[in-house]
């Protein structure tokens, strides 16, 4: 692709955080190649709460990972502000993740040998202007479980530690891959409330992956993925608070 063509696709609209253009991702598995993304175009806006909806295997995680600088597309471009993530090298991507992105994973991925507070500290220690681990944990209502190890916490509590860990650095974007996937709905609601509060209080652009249509009702916008393509983008006229969600 020529430099001119890239230039044409750089984000011009104000308020756009991510500008995704023509992104494809092909995994080579020996003889077979898996097309996880087949040409995705998407803009994400500052401060919005977006939900990525789609069946298992539709390419949601792949897209989120590319947004978060964890993976690079086979083709196409991803702009974060003025910055083309697809042209960033390893060091730039590391720096991008360190200062701008917060991740929440489906399986929490806490470090088992560290307490809740220390798991958050792992991130705040390398961030630029983080909040204190205690404050981050208070935001997810875990102020009293600071010194518990992951094994001593329930799944929902672990996921909230993971959220605290993701928001503690005051990231610009919060990327959550099925944060409630491993939780029952009651616990899931507590987690989603935490995410919504962060989105409202800190104004962090938040992208949440789910294969669960019910959750989509709390989002500003719902982006539907199927078979590696975006099939639908709709804005919710009215958002439901997590408490009223059912799935």
């Amino acid at each position: 692709m020529s430099p001119q063509s890239q230039q044409r696709h750089s984000p011009l609209e104000p308020g756009v955080v991510f500008h995704v253009h023509g992104v494809t991702k092909v995994y080579q598995m020996g003889e077979v190649s898996v097309h996880a993304l087949r040409g995705v175009d998407l803009d994400l806006y500052n401060g919005e709460f977006a939900v990525l909806l789609g069946a298992s295997g539709s390419g949601k995680s792949t897209l989120l990972n590319i947004l978060g600088g964890l993976d690079t597309p086979t083709d196409g471009h991803v702009f974060y502000g003025e910055r083309d993530l697809t042209r960033a090298d390893e060091g730039e991507l590391t720096e991008y993740r360190r200062y701008h992105v917060g991740f929440v994973f489906q399986f929490y991925n806490l470090i088992p040998s560290l307490t809740a507070r220390e798991n958050v500290a792992v991130v705040t220690e390398i961030a630029r202007s983080p909040m204190s681990p205690e404050k981050a944990l208070q935001m997810v209502e875990l102020g009293q479980r600071l010194d518990h190890f992951p094994a001593q916490l329930s799944g929902g509590e672990q996921q909230r530690v993971a959220i605290a860990r993701a928001i503690a650095k005051n990231p610009d974007v919060l990327l959550c891959d099925e944060p409630t996937g491993a939780l029952d709905s009651k616990t899931g609601i507590v987690v989603l409330e935490a995410l919504q509060r962060v989105n409202e209080e800190l104004g962090t652009t938040t992208v949440v992956i789910t294969h669960n249509a019910g959750i989509a009702q709390m989002a500003n916008r719902v982006i539907q993925l199927a078979d590696g393509r975006i099939t639908d983008v709709r804005a919710n006229a009215s958002r439901l608070p997590p408490r009223e969600l059912t799935w």
Binding site: S61, L70, D71, T94, R98, F105, N109, A121, I126
Partner: protein, 787 residues
């Protein structure tokens, strides 16, 4: 403390047993490294200091009898610094309460002084006082073996005359650090001693008034040693010179040098093995840790930790384990080094031991082990850092298994499912299985080294003294005598066989290579000296021509048929040519043999002999020995067997120390390898084994799958280890070879058995520890979490 560092500490604590097992191997490697090098440096330093402080001479010569006036001519030789003439008498000693024959050398001391060269070091008591003619100094080792103290007295027969001597001091001498009777191979402190007394009384007792029979000298800087030796030989020739020689040929110095050479071999060989094993262990343990933590690594990277930061994190873990090993190793090394040095101080007659620990040794030990550790884990660390986070977040794909070769050969019906699991596991990771086997095998090899020394000496003694040199006593005459001298020996009670020998000091030369040694002239039908070929079959001595032992032949690079040039070092000092007739296998010395008649023909002498080999009834041996000593014609009696048994006593301590250390260290490696391999297998197959338990397998059945694999590898490792051990012993033996002796690489069955036993016990200990872990296998937790 940083959160990540806390993670490090907690993980280190969780894997403390594994870490300890690895650290133990590193401790062993560094320990041996520091022990050997510090001992080596200490011995060198101590020897040098002792030599310098006590003015150890550089050239030595003995003569029959030279007038003191010759001294001036010796001092005038260019390149000579200091000269000291001495009277040296070979004497028989009588010690109360000890009926065995004891011989010794009595050396003259300038009155009331420790001497100019080869000064004695007074360990206890005082120097003889002028005018008190019976006062003597006694070598410390001899005094200790005989329980002599200042104030005690002993009898001596000097030149056929009895004299009572009073011990006034116990001393050490740079000349007798390794104190050995002439003609003997091993030190024998009970039967041979060195004594010093004032020159005047000694000279008059030995008919050496105004004369000397021994001279030692030092050289000025930059002088040519060989020139001085040649000039010295020229001057001393007509006084019955025996050929001057340099420090390198001085027996005590040579033995010590050989010992230092061996120490150097140990200092290199062992650490290489230990560091290799440590690198392997670190590699498997860290690889496993990293694959267990791949999701944690992925999330750390997702949070913005760089590859370098993550690499450093695990690098720190490695260095922490290694650090413990280094600290422990340095401690152990210093402790063992001091122990060994002191043992050597005792074993050799050294007045003190200057313990030398060069800083570079410590630095090298630390740096080498860190490098080895980093190299051992670099691959795993790079893999950890390289893994793209998105991919790392996904569980590792299930391992690819295949039916094994054995199964494909159609044998599968013979194996139960668990056995198949074992075989497939081994075949799936051939390299790892191989390295594990190799690690265990190396430990087996190290243990075998422990038994090698004793077995070798036993074998050497058996061949040399049981089969080749079969005499009980050797009587050396003061000068070549006629064969008739043998009659009187044969008539003594208890004497079974007597054979005359003619020993001649010579320098053998072939092309540019030459060696100083002695030719033994023996009868063609000699029974007491049997020459053996490599298969230990008897070789007959041809009527002319010379037979060399294999070592000497190899040194001179001669083959049967070559013409050897012989410079005789006594009598009229003729130079002759002789054909090499063959070579024989011998483990001691550099011997050359000719038929006695042929040798005498060469020398232009009649049927002269210089000594007699005697086979005697053991009941009479002591009496015969004593009787021989009384004969004026007999200069000395050598009794090799007594020397051997007392040598065993002296070296027993060192041998036991070495055996203990190498067995212990070998056990450490075996335990380190087996335990770590089992722990890793357990962690890798946690889920699988827990699932089997859920399915109703018993703990022992599950244990079979896990431990069976290691058991099988251990069983394969033992024979492999025995082969490696044999190879190591072969290598050590080749490194230990010297003019003085060769070490035959002989390993007793017991050595093999011991090595196998230690390996099996280490494996069993590991198995018991794993068995306890298996009890804690959490079936529910394992099935709940995903992997």
């Amino acid at each position: 403390m940083k959160a990540l560092d806390r993670k490090l500490w907690r993980e280190l604590w969780a894997m403390r047993m594994q870490a300890a097992a690895i650290a133990l191997v590193i401790v062993s490697g560094i320990g041996i490294f520091i022990m050997s090098l510090s001992t080596l440096h200490s011995l060198y330093q101590t020897r040098e200091t002792f030599y310098r402080d006590n003015h150890f001479a550089q050239v030595f010569a003995s003569v029959k009898r030279a007038p003191l006036s010759v001294l001036q001519r010796l001092e005038a030789i260019a390149g000579v610094d200091q000269v000291e003439t001495r009277v040296v008498a070979y004497v028989n000693l009588q010690i109360e309460g000890f009926s065995d024959p004891v011989s010794g050398h009595l050396l003259s001391l300038p009155d009331n002084s420790p001497g100019r060269l080869n000064r004695v070091y007074l360990r206890q008591g005082r120097l003889p006082e002028p005018g008190r003619d019976s006062e003597v100094l006694v070598s410390y080792e001899f005094a200790r073996a005989q329980g002599l103290e200042p104030g005690d007295s002993l009898g001596a027969t000097i030149n056929g005359r009895s004299k009572r001597l009073t011990v006034v001091g116990l001393v050490l001498s740079p000349e007798y650090i390794y104190q050995i009777a002439p003609g003997a191979v091993f030190p024998d402190y009970r039967h041979y001693g060195v004594l010093w007394m004032a020159r005047k009384p000694l000279a008059s007792a030995y008919d050496m008034d105004g004369a000397f029979n021994n001279v030692a000298l030092t050289l000025t800087e930059g002088s040519n040693e060989q020139d001085v030796i040649d000039r010295l030989d020229n001057i001393l020739d007509r006084y019955g010179g025996n050929g001057a020689f340099a420090r390198e040929d001085q027996i005590s110095h040579r033995f010590l040098s050989e010992e230092l050479k061996q120490q150097r071999t140990i200092a290199t060989l062992f650490p290489v093995i230990f560091f290799g094993v440590a690198a392997f262990l670190l590699n498997v343990v860290i690889s496993r840790l990293i694959s267990l933590e791949r999701e944690q690594i992925a999330s750390l990277k997702a949070f913005g930790y760089s590859n370098v930061a993550i690499g450093l994190h695990y690098g720190k873990l490695v260095l922490m384990i290694v650090g413990v090993g280094i600290v422990g190793g340095i401690g152990a090394g210093i402790w063992m080094g001091r122990g060994l040095s002191n043992m050597y101080m005792d074993f050799y007659s050294l007045p003190y031991m200057i313990f030398v620990l060069k800083p570079w040794v410590i630095v090298a030990a630390a740096v080498i082990s860190m490098l080895v550790a980093i190299l051992g884990t670099l691959h795993a660390l790079r893999k950890a850092a390289r893994l793209p986070p998105a991919q790392a977040m996904r569980p590792e794909p299930p391992a690819l298994y295949r039916t094994t070769l054995v199964e494909r050969l159609g044998l599968q019906r013979r194996f139960s499912q668990p056995t198949r699991m074992i075989l497939r596991q081994i075949e799936r990771r051939p390299l790892k299985s191989l390295l594990t086997t190799l690690g265990i095998a190396l430990s087996c090899g190290v243990i075998m080294i422990s038994g090698f020394q004793k077995g070798s000496i036993d074998y050497m003694v058996k061949v040399q003294f049981g089969m080749s040199q079969r005499e009980d006593l050797i009587a050396n005459f003061t000068e070549p005598t006629s064969l008739r001298a043998l009659y009187s020996l044969r008539s003594m009670q208890g004497v079974e066989r007597v054979e005359g020998v003619r020993n001649v000091a010579v320098r053998l030369q072939f092309e540019h290579r030459s060696r100083r040694t002695a030719i033994q002239g023996i009868a063609a039908d000699a029974e007491l000296t049997r020459l053996l070929d490599t298969r230990l079959q008897r070789v007959t001595l041809p009527p002319d021509g010379i037979i060399l032992n294999d070592y000497l032949a190899q040194l001179l690079q001669v083959r049967p048929g070559d013409r050897l040039s012989i410079q005789v070092l006594e009598g009229s000092r003729p130079r002759v040519q002789v054909t090499v007739a063959g070579t024989v296998r011998q483990y001691l010395g550099m011997n050359a043999y000719m038929q006695r008649e042929a040798l005498n023909r060469l020398l232009g002498e009649g049927h002269a002999i210089s000594g007699a080999l005697m086979q005697v009834d053991s009941r009479y041996q002591g009496d015969i020995h004593n009787e021989l000593r009384q004969m004026p014609r007999v200069a000395g009696v050598v009794e090799q067997r007594a020397a051997i048994s007392s040598f065993y006593d002296t070296v027993a301590e060192t041998i036991v120390f070495f055996a203990f250390i190498s067995t212990l260290l070998g056990g450490c490696i075996a335990f380190g390898v087996v335990y770590n391999s089992m722990r890793i297998a357990l962690s890798e197959r946690n889920r699988e084994l827990a699932s089997l338990r859920v399915l109703g397998f018993e703990r022992s059945e599950v244990a079979y799958i896990l431990l069976g694999e290691l058991g099988l590898l251990t069983l394969v490792a033992i024979p492999l280890g025995m082969a490696i051990g044999y190879g190591l012993c072969l290598y050590m033996a080749s490194q230990f070879n010297s003019d003085l002796y060769r070490v035959p690489p002989v390993l007793d069955v017991r050595v093999y058995a011991l090595a196998a036993a230690v390996i099996i016990v280490s494996a069993l200990i590991s198995a018991v520890m794993i068995w306890r872990n298996l009890a804690r296998l959490d079936m529910v937790a394992v099935l709940k979490t995903r992997e």
